[in-house]
Symmetry: C5
Subunit: 308 residues, 5 copies
């Protein structure tokens, strides 16, 4: 990887409006771990304890109840970063200081109550991220929810504050709510739109779900058909999503979704990598496996990206 | 254009309550580009990626996925200014610094969710506009929406802050919502009212839609009939809208609306120019054409205004 | 008018809790124009452009589209003050600086949308009033609206800020909404109550509508009948409303309402003056007439008050 | 009253968390007037102009329209304090400075609109109370209203600010709203609960209504019956309410309610005094009488408390 | 207890992100009283006066109406801390300063009004806690309420402020509301989830209810069955809840619930202690007994924990 410094510098050049503090933290994310310098990222996110409850998240691999486990997993696997809510980061930030870039998730939902139009609670602040030594803040938006404007206004304010303090901004953009169908949540037009919205809101790094070939909105379908945008394979769809995020000039990575077998994970990663995706965020498929298996899987995933 | 400085000074004289910083930025908008000094403006706005999604906006002309494309188009065509949401401006503000005045749109709507009474999300701040070197903030209000008061209160606060920091204020005034019919959105009484509201809210530059001859409100119809206000031609209607914005002492420009053929665009511009409109804001009709065609069209439009 | 200074000093003595800055601005309002020093006031308000739209407001007298027209009308007619929303004042404040006291209306409603319980939008600030050189802020409350508490809280906060900065506070108190009937909006018990509420909220100058003999509320009717409060003539009703505003120790003036013929206006003014009203606020009945006619009418009105 | 200083010192000892400024203002309330030093209080409150309208409040005794009247009545009768909304206090605070402690009511309701779940408007601030030289702020809460939490949050914030600035805090605790029946508003369990809530919210002085023997809530009835709490006489009920406010270590006074004949008032006061109530707040029963009669009545009331 | 310092240091080591001020206050809680140094806690909470009303709370043991009673009870029984709302703490904080760590409850609900989805009112502040010399703030969240996000946002902000000022954060996590059934409020999956949420929100000390063997959510049931998580005995369930709070690295204590006989209390405590619970918070079961009985009971409880 003789040109690794070059690729990172190229990516950083897309963020000309950011101050050196933010560029430095973006570089920390890009230069850390086994994929450091390649321009690709594999991130470990662990917010399922909050989102789905502890037993559903950690009982399949009980050591994962302990917040230190995830720091260790991310470090040992050579991930680029570890992302989690306030409590999980507080419980390890001092012990693992300096060993892996961290991303503080600033909003979260639990599943003890759920309405049709989701809106997460604010659960952390930029000041929390700073005192915990994080490289970035993370935030989930649900486009298609009737509460979307509230979320956009929140991330706008948090992103402005984060950037002013030299942090990077990571946005999970997951369309969901009464504006679209269940199937539409992963429709290609919707995923591409979700990436565009996150980019327009000022995200440095965008996480979306791997898109399906379904097209949700009639107005969009006409264009996809007329312009013959290829969306038949996952690689084609990923390529379209990446293009939809400022013509490829924003870092777009893909979530892993529900736990599945290793072959399923690997096949999906190949498609993402082939389509020019910048990487993956892999939660349940890593921490719900035994640690050695998880590291093996993560290494396999990283190798695919490294060779893409 | 021997009297160009004179016309700009005349226009600036209408804004006697503004500080030199704001007057300077108004002058930047009026003096830049091919129409610089004429008192007319053609502005390139690109918020369709946020408003309609990336494929619907950019697939017809794929280079437009890249945010740099629009800076270049506005510069190459000699527009007075380029207006866009936060992400698009951040992605080019440093690279194109000093080459064209920019307007940061501070609120935006997406179309993954839509209710009957629109209210955009706040997506940027005055501080963002200042750090990105913008000449003005932009803001959309939807009179006739049940949420109008919220928007008016937002622009009031943002405009006060912008003016105090020497920025100009551009208001898109697009009546829409349960207070009026679909047809009423472009009714002559409604468009004139929309211009008045924006002016009363303190806008320096007002954007409305080209009005039709339809009259929406009964109370207004009585006056239009009694006073025999001429609204038969587009030029007459534009003249009435301009008059409705403080007797012509506020800059009123007109949006282009849906993509259409070149003849359609040109015909509409002629009407606007004949009626004393101060210019146009042309989005889809420019960036969805190939660049050379778009520049040709924009030049044709500018020529009409230059010779009006 | 040998005792004019005396009367103004007497009125100012009612406002013992106010600082010299506010007393000075109250004195400016009382000492300016043809009625200066009499303790009576005639004020020109022009917010109809915002409230009813430009054509309905200004087409009957097209020079009135221009915001300078109203400054000139108020100055030429010798009004005590000119009141308008932000845009209209910004468009003339510098040019007419020092020639007439101005009142910045800080909230306004438009009629493109209307619900059953009105609540105006905040459209200006105390800082705006200060930078525009105003003598007072103006604010409309709609008692009887379900949103009344929101308005009361807003004027409370704005009035505190205005008083701390040496401005006077003018409250339009117009009961309207689902708490009362249409007829009740001008009922004598309701108008008197409206004056009391404005006074308790800390207004220096209160505007109400000329009351009718209708009594709206049952609990009030019992008292009016038992105490035999005379409400048969307009003068009696005005006297009761003035008494209801702290026993006559708050300045209460009356709005003119819809445009009507000159005789209608004059007859109403005679009743108000006879009843001890402090003056009138006359909008549509002045600026919708030709200027010379309007000045003649306003002078006739002022003469009635001067001789009351 | 040889031990008057002692009793006041004893009462002040209950407020060990307050700063000397607040203790000083509590002492001002306790040491002023004919009951000064006895530990008992009779306060004149006049917010009926706002709450019920001017005619219903003042027409029975027209001098009471003038805000100065109430200052004079409270002073001449030797009340401990005078409580009123912003406008009424502003209209006399300078003229009567130093002659009687005043309490600024910071929230008020009018009766031009009324819903099932009351929530007053905020109509004054701690800064207003300070600039007007008040000894305390007053605030009404309506437990049992669906809007109760909003009121509790408001008084929490205002009380913190008031205490930090050396003011005392007086809370009117009047359960009302969809959580209870009309009869329940004065039920003994509800009044006792209302006193407890006000005390827990940090009130120094609590006003409740004289309770009836009705018990509203089933869960409470079981306890009253099991513990055989005596609530048969007014004195017993008052004793229970006083006990419910921190075992008698908070000042609890009782409102007079609707206007009634003198015997009715006196009988009620005897019950309150016998039960250990700290005093009364008497509005309509004082200012709706002729002044001499009102003073006579107030003196009779004070004598009962003085001899209790 | 030769190793007491060691155990406390071990527990403090779990809170590596906290500043010395907060660690010092956590140590105060852990080192005070009969269980000081054991790592176990028994806390006296008295918010029932606010939550259920005074008679239901204190009539069974009338000395408890006096706020000083509870300070004395907590001190005499050797509790680790005393927790109460603002009024109760204000009424004794000075007199009992330095004798027992206190926890200010910052939100509370009363039962004069109750909707299906609870949300307590904010009734105190971090500044109140500081001026009253408290060691910690306390806050109740109701996961499963539609208002949960509001509560999470409140505690997020209060916890950030508390930690910055060196206070500890105690969260009562009581799922309740339309998201779950009545039975579900104490279901094992729900209690474990409640502990996880509080921990993720940054609580240092978490209070939950003793869980039953019921499983509320289908998605959770599958996991409990598949992973064969033992939940048959109270000890097993407590062990699971403690594990669910960061693998045992957060202090989790259990509430006592409704008043019951001594045997019932003791049996429950044995289960909690056997399951590794960190202690109990015992309100009604202590202050509704005669003081000597309450102290005897509390000592028995403490002995169980001391010997666990």
């Amino acid at each position: 990887m003789a040109d690794s410094g070059k690729r990172v510098r190229e990516i950083l050049s897309w963020y000309g409006s950011d101050n050196p503090g933010t560029l430095n933290n973006l570089a920390r994310l890009l230069n850390h771990g086994r994929l450091g310098g390649t321009g690709k990222l594999v991130i470990l996110p662990v917010d399922q304890g909050f989102e789905h409850g502890p037993a559903r998240s950690f009982a399949p691999n009980p050591p994962a109840y302990d917040p230190r486990y995830h720091f260790e997993l991310a470090i040992d696997a050579g991930c680029n970063a570890y992302a989690a809510p306030l409590g999980f980061l507080e419980a390890g930030a001092a012990e693992f200081a300096g060993r892996i870039p961290t991303i503080l998730k600033l909003n979260n939902s639990d599943s003890l109550y759920s309405g049709s139009d989701p809106c997460p609670a604010i659960t952390g602040s930029v000041r929390d991220a700073l005192r915990l030594g994080c490289a970035a803040i993370g935030f989930t938006i649900y486009p298609a929810s009737s509460a979307r404007n509230e979320m956009y206004a929140q991330i706008r304010e948090l992103a402005e504050e984060a950037k002013a303090h030299g942090l990077a901004v990571v946005v999970w953009s997951y369309p969901r709510g009464s504006g679209i169908s269940k199937q539409g949540e992963t429709a290609i037009d919707v995923c591409a739109y979700a990436a565009q919205i996150a980019a327009q809101l000022g995200a440095h790094l965008i996480k979306v779900k791997p898109p399906t070939a379904h097209i949700e909105q009639d107005a969009a379908r006409k264009v996809y058909e007329k312009q013959q945008i290829p969306v038949g394979t996952l690689a084609e769809r990923v390529r379209h999503v990446v293009q939809s995020a400022f013509g490829g000039r924003r870092i777009v990575i893909f979530s892993g979704g529900e736990a599945k077998d290793k072959e399923g994970v690997i096949a999906e990663i190949r498609g993402i990598a082939e389509g020019g995706g910048f990487g993956s965020i892999i939660g349940r498929n890593s921490f719900q496996r035994r640690k050695s298996e998880a590291i093996e899987l993560l290494h396999d995933v990283m190798d695919i990206y490294a060779n893409a």
